[in-house]
């Protein structure tokens, strides 16, 4: 009997040690697991030093909560369940009140409006089990930037809890699709915050605009414009709205038809050069364009069409799609056009390769058996491809700056034609969500993190 009690005591002690060990592991969200096990977090409204500041605090909390929930990695707990009423973020919270409602992390914050009108936003992130502060930061900003600050808070929380940089303080350029009075298709470039706020048009209805791509400094985009009646690559300055046809002169100097097609141009990671598919006498070939010398260098010569180039994050290699093997497949090559390697071999057509900002993966669209899918494959072509989404239509994948989420154009058949929307999915194939664009939309381009 004594022996049994001793064994029981040892067992209990063992359990206690195990439980303590678990409790003392640092809070960490595994971004590779998708939304199978989102982390419960408590986000009480940021407190304010005045009526106006309290109202703004509520706004900021709403934006942060929406950001974190949209990642699929966090499960914000309903505010109605909260026990402690946070009044001063410089006091230690009553952690038991937050643990008992299941919260692992607690974000508290405050808003103060200075005499000059500027906002001071401070926050603390707590681990409710270890009862430790994980993060404490303060921002001072112009009042109209409150959304930017909210997204930065969400990015800080994301980074502290996942170990990876966030992607909430970003913008998205896309194609707003519609129909004109006579039913003609309208495709205008539009821009909005990553969460759908602050939408505005960049181009008007008088010409079609397609396939935008961000520059690494977020100040410019390239896109394909029908302003001249032919698909032509344009550079568009987001600050000034100024735009120019990029290659007309260079195409003439390179002995190409200056009225020929130039398509979607993507920047090198340092922003100094562009890769683009341009129409030549024998089809479409990948070219490199130097933004300083404004000269074109032809990288591929194959009579089949080579299109859709995208740089590796180190700028050393380019992935593109080509019909040189019959149906369209994906290939990589050095930035000077040497060492071409095929990286996809599956049935069907592979198009729209986009190199992950992490470097290891390439996202693609695959068309097979009347269906479209969004997938990823290792950049060296080894291993098997992973399909993240399959449906009626897929196009134009775009990576989040941290390489953990993909935006893509999704089409669904409707009685009056295909309806196009932008959706997101994480790298594990979970957390499929529609992007909050007003109407029909396609061709997302995801900005880098805004400084």
């Amino acid at each position: 009997m004594n022996r049994f009690l001793a064994a029981l005591a040892a067992l209990i002690a063992g359990l206690a040690v195990t439980a303590m060990a678990q409790a003392q592991e640092p809070l960490r969200v595994d971004v590779t697991r998708g939304n199978l096990d989102p982390l419960p977090v408590a986000l009480p409204d940021f407190v304010g030093s005045s009526e106006e500041a309290m109202s703004r605090g509520t706004d900021i909390t709403r934006v942060v909560t929406n950001d974190l929930a949209s990642s699929g990695l966090f499960a914000p707990i309903d505010q109605d369940a909260y026990i402690e009423d946070i009044e001063n973020i410089d006091l230690r919270p009553r952690f038991s009140d937050w643990r008992v409602i299941g919260s692992s992390a607690l974000l508290v914050g405050s808003v103060h409006i200075q005499d000059d009108g500027r906002l001071v936003v401070a926050f603390r992130l707590w681990d409710t089990r270890l009862e430790e502060q994980l993060l404490g930061l303060q921002y001072r900003t112009a009042p109209e930037n409150w959304r930017r600050v909210a997204h930065r808070v969400a990015d800080e929380v994301y980074q502290r809890l996942t170990g990876e940089s966030g992607y909430f303080n970003t913008r998205i350029v896309y194609v707003a699709e519609g129909r004109g009075i006579e039913g003609e298709p309208l495709r205008q470039l539009a821009i909005m915050d990553q969460d759908g706020a602050n939408p505005s048009f960049l181009t008007d209805r008088s010409y079609m605009a397609l396939l935008p791509n961000y520059s690494p400094n977020s100040q410019e985009i390239t896109y394909v414009s029908f302003l001249d009646g032919q698909a032509t690559t344009y550079l568009y300055d987001l600050e000034t709205g100024r735009q120019e046809a990029l290659f007309t002169q260079a195409m003439r100097e390179a002995g190409l038809d200056p009225d020929g097609q130039s398509l979607s141009a993507r920047f090198t990671p340092d922003g100094s050069q562009l890769a683009v598919s341009i129409e030549t006498r024998s089809g479409h070939d990948i070219h490199l364009f130097d933004l300083r010398t404004r000269a074109l260098q032809r990288l591929t010569q194959h009579p089949a069409d080579d299109v859709e180039p995208s740089f590796s994050p180190d700028g050393e290699r380019i992935v593109f799609s080509s019909s040189r093997g019959g149906g369209s497949q994906l290939y990589t090559m050095n930035r000077d056009g040497t060492d071409v390697q095929r990286i996809t071999f599956g049935e069907g057509l592979y198009t729209t390769p986009v190199w992950s900002p992490r470097g290891d993966l390439i996202a693609f669209t695959k068309q097979s058996g009347g269906q479209f899918s969004l997938g990823v494959v290792r950049a060296d072509g080894s291993g098997i491809e992973r399909i993240l989404y399959e449906g009626f239509f897929v196009d134009t994948p775009a990576w989040s700056p941290n390489g953990r989420v993909l935006l893509f154009t999704r089409g669904e058949p409707r009685a009056d034609g295909t309806r196009y929307e932008i959706w997101s999915v994480d790298l594990a194939g979970f957390n499929l969500r529609r992007l909050a664009t007003g109407g029909m939309a396609s061709d997302p381009a995801w900005s880098p993190l805004i400084e």
Binding site: L210, A231, S277, E279, V307, F392, F393, G411, T418
Partner: protein
């Protein structure tokens, strides 16, 4: 005299076109686009005079302004060659006329891929017209990819109609 000969040639070509059958791999591929449903108001033009000779309507009616392509193809079908020969003959009769050939695609492909495919379709039609004696300087080409569909529904019949190269008179013709 020359005109009369041309008229005979055109009639002959027409008879061929009517007798021809769509390609086997796309038996539902239309030779002509379907009549648009205007809510019962669709009217077939039955005026006996027909369009003015040398006009854009005349070109469309006597030669045909569109050639169709197979799925993911840019090679010319026998029917497409027939239509293009009629276009070449018409253009020989109206040597001042200039044309724009626009390549179009169905929506079952990604955007950039289709912009390139549409260019191939337009170029295939242009090259054939040149081989039939049309001066290259009279022809310009563009590609709308899948961005300018004739038919907007999501079905195979629509997609077949949208896989085309459309020839438009852009100058030197009668209004």
């Amino acid at each position: 005299m020359k005109i009369k000969l041309f008229a005979v040639a055109v009639l002959g070509a027409f008879a061929t076109a009517c007798a021809s059958t769509p390609p086997d791999d796309n038996s539902d591929m239309p030779i002509e686009p379907p009549v648009t449903d205007n809510g019962g108001g669709a009217v077939v033009d039955t005026t006996p005079t027909g369009p003015a000779e040398g006009s854009a309507e005349h070109f469309t009616q006597t030669a045909g302004d569109r050639v169709f392509y197979g799925l993911d193809r840019h090679d010319l079908t026998p029917e497409a060659r027939t239509t293009l020969r009629r276009q070449a003959a018409w253009l020989a009769s109206y040597p001042g006329a200039r044309i724009l050939i626009a390549g179009n695609c169905d929506e079952r492909g990604t955007r950039e891929y289709n912009l390139a495919l549409g260019a191939r379709r337009a170029n295939a039609a242009r090259d054939y017209l040149i081989s039939q004696g049309v001066d290259a300087s009279r022809i310009s080409t563009t590609s709308y990819g899948k961005e300018n569909p004739t038919c907007t529904q999501s079905n195979e019949q629509c997609w077949a109609i949208n896989r085309n190269a459309t020839t438009t008179l852009v100058g030197g013709y009668t209004n």
